[in-house]
């Protein structure tokens, strides 16, 4: 706790790893660009090939930044949820928050074709998509919060989260049954999850959303630490339960909802990264965990994206497949661990 110095080494190492992953992510892609040329382009020197420069600056660098933002934001929202629900298996995907965002997006993308004549919101732009999926995720989050107040059981909460996921999934199926093929395709591509295809403008919006979410979380560090003792103890330590719960929920919803809007539902990152981080930083103090989770999430997302990109081949795997392959074993490992349910 008091000796913050002992965390300097892991933070420096993580920082270097992040930088490395960033460079690797940029230098690998469907078009093979020599590493030396990649470096030249990044540092502004004249490249031998102008189309390489275009690829790097307009495709790979934004994608790498998107991966960093998405990985950090999702991991932070996972950390917030695990502390808020005092549940090691909480995460935006597991508790149905991402499904809520999907429903919001589905209603916007596919619902607009159904009611197109009634409502003229046929303009599906970034802002409306972000708003729709944020509203969706907030609604599910609120439902989970209401239910969580009634059930104390870890497993029950997870099953309820799963059920919320099923309900939203069912509503999405109903919508997709009545919609036209083009809109359906648009939705399905969105639901695969992707960190690419984001313009610099969209990145800026995502950055703002994540900065706000992170700022609120930083201001909530003290109540978050108190929540580790349980709500009654937190109150006895002078935490204003209502306010801090409200702000933590807002931050979680902003992070999870905003990211899902731009990148689609991305599985397991939010759940897995906080646990992986706790393995390195053997602490529960959110003053350490919060920045650590941000960096670790960025690293993992960059790695997943590098793999999904399948270097030097023209095909791209859905990012969800990669994150699930990494994330699902973490859940199994958590359940198998002897002192399970400890976070």
């Amino acid at each position: 706790m008091n000796d913050h110095k002992k965390y300097k080494v892991p933070f420096t190492v993580l920082g270097i790893v992040l930088l490395l992953c960033f460079v690797i992510n940029i230098s690998l892609g469907s078009v093979s660009i020599p590493f030396s040329d990649t470096m030249k382009i990044i540092f502004g020197a004249e490249a031998t090939n102008n189309s390489w420069k275009y690829i790097i600056w307009n495709y790979r660098v934004p994608k790498a930044f998107a991966a960093i933002l998405i990985g950090s934001g999702l991991s932070l929202s996972g950390l917030l949820m695990q502390t808020l629900f005092r549940n090691p298996l909480a995460g935006p995907f597991v508790l149905g928050i991402s499904s809520g965002a999907s429903l919001g997006a589905a209603i916007l993308i596919m619902g607009s074709s159904l009611m197109g004549s009634l409502f003229s919101f046929s303009f599906i732009n970034d802002i409306s998509l972000a708003i729709a999926s944020s509203i969706g995720s907030f609604l599910v989050l609120l439902a989970v919060v209401v239910v969580a107040a009634r059930v104390k059981d870890t497993m029950a909460l997870l099953i309820i989260g799963l059920m919320f996921g099923s309900i939203t999934g069912a509503l999405v199926s109903v919508l997709s049954y009545f919609t036209n093929a083009e809109k359906l395709q648009q939705y399905i591509y969105w639901s695969f999850g992707s960190v690419g295809n984001l313009s610099w403008n969209q990145l800026l919006m995502l950055l703002i959303i994540i900065l706000i979410g992170t700022l609120i979380s930083v201001l909530c560090i003290k109540p978050l630490n108190a929540f580790l003792l349980g709500e009654n103890y937190a109150r006895s330590l002078g935490v204003n339960l209502k306010n801090s719960r409200f702000f933590i929920i807002i931050a979680t919803g902003l992070l999870a909802g905003g990211i899902t809007a731009f990148a689609g539902p991305i599985a397991f990152i939010g759940l897995a990264v906080p646990h992986l981080t706790r393995q390195i930083f053997n602490t529960t103090d959110h003053r350490i965990l919060l920045p650590a989770v941000l960096v670790y999430g960025a690293i993992l997302m960059l790695l997943c994206d590098t793999i999904a990109q399948m270097p030097n081949s023209s095909s791209v795997l859905p990012i969800n497949a990669i994150t699930s392959i990494i994330g699902a074993p973490v859940v199994i490992w958590l359940l198998l661990r002897k002192r399970k349910m400890i976070f």
């Binding site: 008091n2 108190a226 009654n232 330590l237 204003n240």
Partner: protein, 223 residues
């Protein structure tokens, strides 16, 4: 130091939790320093009353030192950094409960009894004028029960704190407490243990065909 005793389900914990504002009061008035309890903000109350509850803590991954340090939260800045005074109070709390050898252990490594001592130390670190403890000695052996209660009594007398705890160990309470509150269905008696013995308050506690009270030794006998 005051003990609340009574049979199971009479409302010992409920009373204690209501006094600590852990649960809302149903009726009546609670005054802390002549000021109604509901007029306190959570933060202001946190420097007046600390609690030790029976419910388990949410994260057993905390180290003992981290857990006790959380007791300083009402006094720390917005991010919770500990200054010299905080660190001093934490060290004092740890040494009072003799937890030095355990301080870097994780809570899941501790026995129930050790964890209970840690929670007492956390309440001490919070440095409040009132400490409420709900069955603080239920998981401890006789030696550690007496050790903790003697320590609490010492703290109460030394630092002029009010320490109120619920217990089922009436015989120990009679020997150690300054005052006792006996909760019964239709009446409650409050006073010094000797006074209560003289009033034959303990005899009424249990059905006299199974357990009787011996006023001379201050202990219960099974028939």
């Amino acid at each position: 130091m005051t003990a609340i005793v009574g049979i199971n389900g009479i409302g010992k914990s409920t009373l204690l939790r209501t006094l600590g504002k852990v649960q809302p009061q149903l009726s009546g008035k609670i005054l802390v320093n002549k000021k109604p309890l509901e007029h306190y903000t959570p933060l202001a109350l946190a420097s007046e009353i600390s609690v030790v509850l029976t419910e388990p803590i949410a994260s057993k991954n905390l180290t003992v030192l981290e857990l006790i340090s959380l007791g300083r939260q009402p006094y720390t800045n917005w991010i919770g950094s500990l200054d010299e005074e905080d660190k001093h109070k934490i060290r004092a709390a740890i040494s009072m409960v003799q937890l030095e050898p355990l301080q870097h252990k994780k809570c899941y490594e501790l026995s129930d009894g050790q964890l209970q001592k840690v929670m007492v130390a956390r309440a001490l670190a919070q440095d409040t004028s009132i400490i409420l403890l709900d069955e603080p000695t239920s998981h401890l052996d006789l030696y550690h029960k007496v050790h903790i209660l003697k320590l609490l009594k010492h703290i109460a007398h030394e630092t002029k704190k009010t320490i109120l705890y619920t217990t089922h160990e009436i015989e120990i309470a009679i020997q150690l407490c300054d005052k006792m509150l006996i909760l019964e269905k239709d009446r409650s008696s409050f006073g010094e243990p000797c006074e209560l013995i003289r009033q034959q308050s303990f005899e009424r506690l249990f059905p006299s065909d199974t357990i009787t009270f011996d006023p001379i030794s201050g202990s219960f006998k099974i028939i």
